[in-house]
Structure formats: structure tokens, C-alpha cells
């Protein structure tokens, strides 16, 4: 995990990683397409470089996406594992099924600290100043990627009008 402040040395390091990452993506892509959706991705580390701003002065640009994120985003196994963790780690106590409470909503499509999966990962790992705890000492990178995948799925399914209601409501009969 890096600070949002970037320096040339780091950028160069990130660029050097790209070819290796591409190989990894291609290797996965070579497998059966549906199996890719369902197969559980694995990761030993978090994203190499994450930003939480949209401002890049003097012609700067956002660092490239860490390709690990793409393996987790939208992956059914990762989302299912992330959902499980989301309950186990009491994330539901603050964010519920995406609507938010003590913590912000995760299904609204509005992201305080960035909605890219690597940015969501960074928020989980580092915590955020207004009350998001840091989980990097409690969880493995694999687990945080799975959580990030689940969090991302909340916004996606909300925008496609999938009901998030976990408890079916009924009318009150006095």
C-alpha cells in the first residue's frame, strides 16, 4: 500500500510490474470463460499503487490499475467469499446490506475514497479517517480482495435493480 503521493521511482516500479501482470491475466484468460467467472482467484498481496484523489497536477495521471483487481471483480467465488467475510468481520453492523448506517452506503454508487476495486481494497486495508477501521493486521490480502469484490458487487447489483432486501417485509396486522 502506498500513500496517494506519488514519486517517479514508484511509478517506474509500477510500470515494471505491468508485463508480469499481463502474463497472469493472459494465463487466466486462456482457461474456459465460465470457469473463469466461477474459479476462485488468489492473491498474495494488495495493489501496488492506489490513489484516493482525482486531481493530478502538472499533467500527472492516475497510476495503472493493478491487474489483480480484475481477477476478483465480478468473480462469483470471490464475491461469495467476500460476503461471508463481510458478515464474519461485522462489516454488516456498519454498512448492512449496502444501505449503510454507522458507515456509509456501499450500494449508492457514490464513493468517498474511490470506487475502483483497488481503491476499495485500500480503504479496507488502511482504514479511513472518519471512522473506517484498518483491517490489514487482521485479514490476509486474499480476504481483503474478496471483501472488495463483494463491496463492488453491492453497487453493481443495486444499479441493476436487484433487491437487496434480506428480510422480506410484510404488512402489519394490528
Amino acid at each position: 500500500m502506498s500513500s496517494p503521493c506519488r514519486n517517479p521511482e514508484r511509478r517506474a516500479a509500477a510500470t515494471r510490474l505491468v508485463p508480469f501482470a499481463l502474463v497472469a491475466v493472459l494465463a487466466v484468460a486462456a482457461t474456459n470463460a465460465s470457469a473463469q467467472q466461477d474459479a476462485a482467484p488468489e492473491a498474495q498481496h494488495g495493489p501496488k499503487e492506489v490513489f484516493v484523489t482525482g486531481l493530478f497536477p502538472n499533467g500527472g495521471t492516475a497510476p495503472p490499475r493493478d491487474p489483480i483487481g480484475a481477477r476478483f471483480e465480478g468473480n462469483k467465488s470471490a464475491i461469495a467469499a467476500g460476503k461471508e467475510l463481510f458478515g464474519q468481520m461485522n462489516c454488516t453492523g456498519c454498512h448492512f446490506n449496502g444501505g449503510g448506517g454507522m458507515g456509509p452506503a456501499l450500494m449508492s454508487g457514490h464513493w468517498r475514497y474511490g470506487g475502483r476495486i483497488d481503491q476499495v481494497y485500500a480503504s479496507i486495508a488502511q482504514g479511513r479517517p472518519n471512522g473506517m477501521p484498518s483491517w490489514q493486521d487482521s485479514l490476509q490480502p486474499q480476504q481483503m480482495w474478496e471483501l472488495a469484490a463483494y463491496v463492488k458487487s453491492l453497487a453493481t447489483s443495486a444499479s441493476s435493480s436487484v433487491s437487496q432486501t434480506a428480510v422480506p417485509g410484510t404488512s402489519v396486522k394490528p
Binding site: 468481520m89 448492512f96 444501505g99 482504514g127 477501521p133 410484510t170 402489519v172
Partner: protein, 622 residues
């Protein structure tokens, strides 16, 4: 020791042992006919409750503590503003708090200065009432830890400050109590009482008694172990701290402790009524109100819900959660306790206000307290002994069939008990109760109690939850909905002698504001869409209303200004548990959000917006 008082109570209250819903619906019908309204004045004149003078001294025109006085009447004896002229009430001045979270605080008025505390970041403003427009006299920014916002269950609220002897006392969300010089805003002392990494916050307004500042913690949804502490008002030193769970020595239960009911007596019940060590993360926080009887030298307060909400993880009575304590304020020693909701299954905290009145019961004068519990019952409790004199539902309730006056315990409806893996439908009242924190008022002029409350029900599904320090410890998925009739709020005028409602105003939105009664024959309260209302104290007739900038969840107060005229003040600014959907920009598509509150409050986003403004009203200068 218990046999004698119990046998007496059985004889006296045999007939009324069980209050039930059938009786309730009958009186509702009576109310609609207006019959009880006509009968009321004659009945009331005979045995109207009085307020103990030691707990409510004659009104000096100030408002130095949120509840107005130790008896917690929230009654102003100012009568310049009354039913005949309230229609002309207008804004005298307004002031932005600069914070757009829920404004639950009561403005405090002392020495011609008004003091307000904002929600997090708990900024304090002193406004000079002697100058036109009440300019800032001083302000103070405590700068609490930003991370404290992440462990505050239900918006980052603060319920106000307390003034005493030239000092202003208030609490910060990150667990500090601070004393300021009320004249200058200089910090006199600052005492850290808790740790946000255990999920602990402080949201309540302190009460100053006998030179001690009484402070309790919040965090019942994070497995926080509840306590009430007394700090030396001069030094800030912690003099005692009484926990709500654990061994007697921690709860400050000693030889002088004697409760009225058998199940509230025993050794180390704060340990024995829990699974091993569960009391350490069992809740019982104290984020509500404290009353004080100077004659008996006892303070009264209730503790919060047990944790987790999933009751299957904590078999037993879970003492001393949801419990009314009577304590000596000088030592903290408990004199007696009354557990309102043993083994609570519905998040029915006991922290709501206790109003002290003296009234005649069956021909005998009794010192009592009035307590509208989250479980929907209006308790009349003997404040010397802890005996429940009566407990009747003040709105629609189906989770509790009645209060057994022989045991002091609620008789639960077996169909509405909560379970793991099963959705239990239509539990009334909902988790926030028939009434939440927002305090009632009592008028000695009418003998009535004015209760701003909710009419909400819920579906509940428990699930297993692990304790992780500093995270929510809930284990339940809740969806709240409107109660019978569809109106989510009610404002009820209650006759504590007759034990019934005199009139009820149905409100579309849940009532989350406190209320105040005045000698002008008026009662003031606010609605979550921003209306500030004055109604006739005897009839409930709407006499005046004003639309403020945001929803109202604050506490109205009245004071006499330096010009000798009466003013009425309220903070406007939506939020709190019910209003978090607006102040926290929550997503209503998930009805389980905000502990099950977002679905039923989905329309609030279309009716108000966040804000934070003080409004002060007066009659036009003639």
C-alpha cells in the same frame, strides 16, 4: 425481606396485574369520542400530581440543564406566550451551528448567555443574549478524534451541556468530559473516560448533582460495557464509576442494596445472569437521562440494551441491562434496582427519562417516577422502594402482553420472541421502542405528561455474531415499518393518575424531538420534516407552527431574556437513528440499513435535508 412488600402489592393490585392490548384499544375509542376529555378536568382536580419542590425549585427564567430541573419536568412557568397570542410568535434570531448532523441538544441558558453544543465535532458556542442578534460571546472547539464517528451507532449526536456554578460541562464523542469557564470559554479541566477502540463513545448530556458531574457511555451496539461515572466538578477527578454488568463491587452494589422484586436481589447477578464472561461485552450503557431527588438524595437512571441483540448468545436475565437504578450520588452506591426488560430480545433500552412527581395512589401519598419505556409501557414506580405501581401501554404494543406487578417483569408474547435463522414478523414496538431517547414533559398546571413517541413495528431475524472489539456486536437483521394506522409518530398527553391517554396527535413521521410544557398552557415539539409546533396543553389543538430549515430532533426550551420577555428556543437539524438516512446519506433500497431504520424512513430524503440551526422565537415587540 421481600415477602412483606410483595404480599401487600398483590392485594392492592390484584385486579390490575396484567395490562393488555384489549384495554388499550378501548380507551383509544373513548378518546376519539371525546368523552374522556369532558370528564378529565373534574377527575384531575381531585388528585393532580405535584412536582417535589426540592427537585424543581421556583422558575428563575433560566434553563441550566436539558431537563430544566432535577425532577426532569421540562416545564417552564413562564406564561407570557400563551394560547391567546402564540399565533403571533416569530423568529427573534437564528444561528447556524455549522454542523449538519442530528441536533439533539437542548440549548442551555444561564446568566443571559445561551450555550449550545453541536453534534460531532462537539463545538460549543456561547451567545450573548444581552446584545441585539445574540452574537457569539465565545466558542470552543474540542477537536475530538475523527475516528470516533465510526463507532457511534446512530448518528454522531450530542444531547447537550449542563451549567452549574459558573461552569459549563459537556461530553465529546471521543469519550472526554470537559468543563469550561462559562464566562470565557476557558478549559478548566478535561477528563478522558473511555476508549473509542472498544467502541465506546459519549453522547449524553451530563447532570451536575452535589458538586459531581454524572456521565455515562454509549456503545450498546458494539458490546461496550456500560457505566455511569461521577467526576468532581472542580477538578474533573473520577470519584466513582458504577458499571452496569459484572460483580457487585463493580456495579457498586453493597449491603445497603435492597430491590423490591426478588429477581432483582442476589449476589453478583451482573455475572451470574450471563454465560461465562459475556457480561464483559454485554452492554448496559447509559446514554440517556438522570433525575435526582434531593430529599431522598437518590439519582435515577436506566441502562441500555444487552449485547449482542441476538439473545440466543446470552441466556439469562443479563443484569443489569435495561435496568432502573436508584443510587446515592455521593458514593454511587446502589439502593435498589428494577430491571425493566430481563433478557431483552428487542433492543428495548431502559435509558428513557424518569420524571419525578408526587401523587396520591389509592388514597395514599406516594413519591413516584414516571417512565415511558421503550417496551411501550408507562411505568409509575415508587421512587423510595422501586415498586411498580402501574405500567400501562401508551401506544400499540404486541411484544409485551403486560407487566406482572407481582414480579415486576414483563409478560412476553411468545409469538414475538426473536430467534436465529427465523424472521419474526410484525413485532411492535420496533427496536427503537414505542419511544426512544427524546424526552417527555410534565405540566403541574394540567397534571399531564406529554410523550413524543413512535408508532413503528419490525421484522427481526437473529444471526450469530462474533465479538470483535471496536466493531458492531449486533447479530440481528431488522426491517422497521409503520405501525397500525400508518402514522409513524404520535404525540400523547397522558394522565398518570388515571393511567390513560387524554388526547393523541397522530404524526406522519416518527417523533424524534423532545417536548416542553409551559405555564402558558402550551406544549412545544418538532417534527422530522422541520415543523416546530405549539399545541394546547389541555386539548392538543394546534395553536402555532413554524417550518424550520431542517428536520427537528432537538429539545425545546424557554427562558426569560434580559428584556424580561419570554423566549422559546429549539435546534433544528435532522439526524439521529431515525434521521440518519438524511444526515448520513444512506441508501433506502436496503431496508436493513441503520439497524433496520432506512426502509421505513425512505421518504425523509424527499421531505428534508441536513442542516444545523438554532431558532429562537418571541412575541413581536409591542
Amino acid at each position: 425481606m421481600m415477602t412483606i412488600p410483595i404480599s401487600q402489592s398483590v392485594g392492592r393490585y390484584q385486579v390490575a396485574r396484567f395490562t393488555d392490548s384489549i384495554g388499550r384499544s378501548r380507551w383509544l375509542r373513548l378518546l376519539l369520542t371525546g368523552a374522556s376529555l369532558l370528564l378529565y378536568p373534574a377527575l384531575a382536580a381531585a388528585q393532580m400530581p405535584t412536582v417535589p419542590a426540592s427537585a424543581a425549585p421556583s422558575d428563575d427564567g433560566q434553563w441550566t440543564m436539558p431537563a430544566k430541573n432535577y425532577a426532569a419536568t421540562r416545564y417552564s412557568s413562564l406564561d407570557e406566550i400563551n394560547g391567546a397570542n402564540v399565533g403571533k410568535l416569530q423568529v427573534a434570531f437564528a444561528f447556524s451551528t455549522g454542523v449538519d448532523h442530528g441536533q439533539e441538544a437542548a440549548p442551555i441558558v444561564a446568566n443571559n448567555t445561551m450555550f449550545i453544543v453541536t453534534p460531532y465535532p462537539n463545538n460549543v458556542f456561547a451567545l450573548d443574549l444581552t446584545k441585539p442578534g445574540a452574537p457569539i460571546k465565545w466558542s470552543y472547539q474540542p477537536r475530538p478524534a475523527a475516528a470516533s464517528q465510526g463507532v457511534a451507532c446512530c448518528d454522531v449526536v450530542n444531547r447537550g451541556a449542563a451549567y452549574s456554578d459558573g461552569k459549563l460541562f459537556f461530553n465529546t464523542l471521543d469519550d472526554n468530559t470537559i468543563a469550561l469557564d462559562a464566562e470565557t470559554g476557558t478549559v478548566l479541566w478535561k477528563t478522558k473516560l473511555g476508549d473509542i477502540n472498544t467502541g465506546e463513545t459519549i453522547t449524553m448530556a451530563p447532570l451536575v448533582v452535589n458538586g459531581k458531574v454524572l456521565v455515562g457511555n454509549s456503545g450498546g451496539e458494539l458490546g461496550v460495557r456500560g457505566w455511569l461515572a461521577a467526576l468532581d466538578a472542580t477538578t474533573g477527578n473520577i470519584l466513582w464509576r458504577a458499571y452496569a454488568t459484572g460483580p457487585d463491587k463493580d456495579v457498586l452494589i453493597g449491603p445497603g442494596f435492597r430491590s423490591f422484586y426478588p429477581s432483582d436481589n442476589g449476589t453478583d447477578l451482573g455475572v451470574k445472569t450471563w454465560p461465562t464472561d459475556a457480561w464483559k461485552t454485554g452492554g448496559g450503557t447509559m446514554w440517556g437521562w438522570i433525575a435526582y431527588d434531593p430529599d431522598l438524595n437518590l439519582i435515577y437512571y436506566g441502562t441500555g440494551n444487552p449485547g449482542p441483540w441476538n439473545q440466543e448468545q446470552r441466556p439469562g436475565d443479563n443484569k443489569w441491562t435495561t435496568t432502573l437504578f436508584a443510587r446515592n450520588p455521593d458514593t454511587g452506591a446502589a439502593k435498589w434496582a428494577l430491571q425493566y426488560n430481563p433478557h431483552d430480545q428487542h433492543d428495548y433500552d431502559g435509558i428513557n427519562e424518569h420524571i419525578l412527581v408526587d401523587m396520591t395512589v389509592d388514597g395514599n401519598p406516594r413519591r413516584v417516577l414516571l417512565h415511558p419505556d421503550r417496551n411501550g409501557h408507562l411505568y409509575v414506580v415508587d421512587r423510595e422502594s422501586g415498586e411498580i405501581i402501574s405500567a400501562k401501554p401508551y401506544g400499540y404494543v404486541n411484544s409485551v402482553l403486560g407487566i406482572d406487578l407481582k414480579t415486576g417483569r414483563p409478560v412476553m408474547n411468545p409469538d414475538k420472541l426473536t430467534k436465529v435463522g427465523t424472521v419474526v414478523h410484525d413485532i411492535c414496538p420496533t427496536a427503537s421502542g414505542l419511544k426512544d431517547w427524546n424526552p417527555s414533559a410534565f405540566s403541574p398546571s394540567t397534571g399531564l405528561m406529554y410523550i413524543p413517541h413512535e408508532n413503528l413495528c419490525m421484522d427481526w431475524k437473529s444471526r450469530p455474531v462474533s465479538y470483535i472489539a471496536g466493531t458492531p456486536f449486533v447479530g440481528a437483521e431488522v426491517v422497521t415499518k409503520a405501525g397500525p394506522g400508518g402514522n409513524r409518530g404520535e404525540f400523547t398527553a397522558w394522565d398518570p393518575v388515571a393511567g390513560k391517554a387524554v388526547w393523541t396527535i397522530k404524526e406522519d413521521l416518527p417523533l424524534w424531538s423532545g417536548t416542553m410544557a409551559t405555564a402558558g398552557g402550551l406544549v412545544f415539539y418538532g417534527t422530522m420534516d422541520g415543523w416546530f409546533k405549539a399545541v394546547d396543553a389541555r386539548t392538543g389543538e394546534l395553536k402555532w407552527q413554524f417550518k424550520t430549515g431542517s428536520g427537528i430532533i432537538g429539545q425545546p426550551v424557554a427562558y426569560r431574556g434580559p428584556d424580561g420577555h419570554q423566549y422559546v428556543a429549539i435546534l433544528s437539524g435532522v439526524g439521529g437513528w431515525a434521521g440518519a438516512i438524511v444526515s448520513g446519506d444512506l441508501d433506502p433500497r436496503d431496508p436493513t440499513g441503520a439497524l433496520g431504520m432506512t426502509g421505513v424512513m425512505a421518504d425523509l430524503k424527499t421531505k428534508t435535508a441536513p442542516g444545523g440551526t438554532l431558532y429562537v422565537f418571541a412575541l413581536p415587540k409591542s
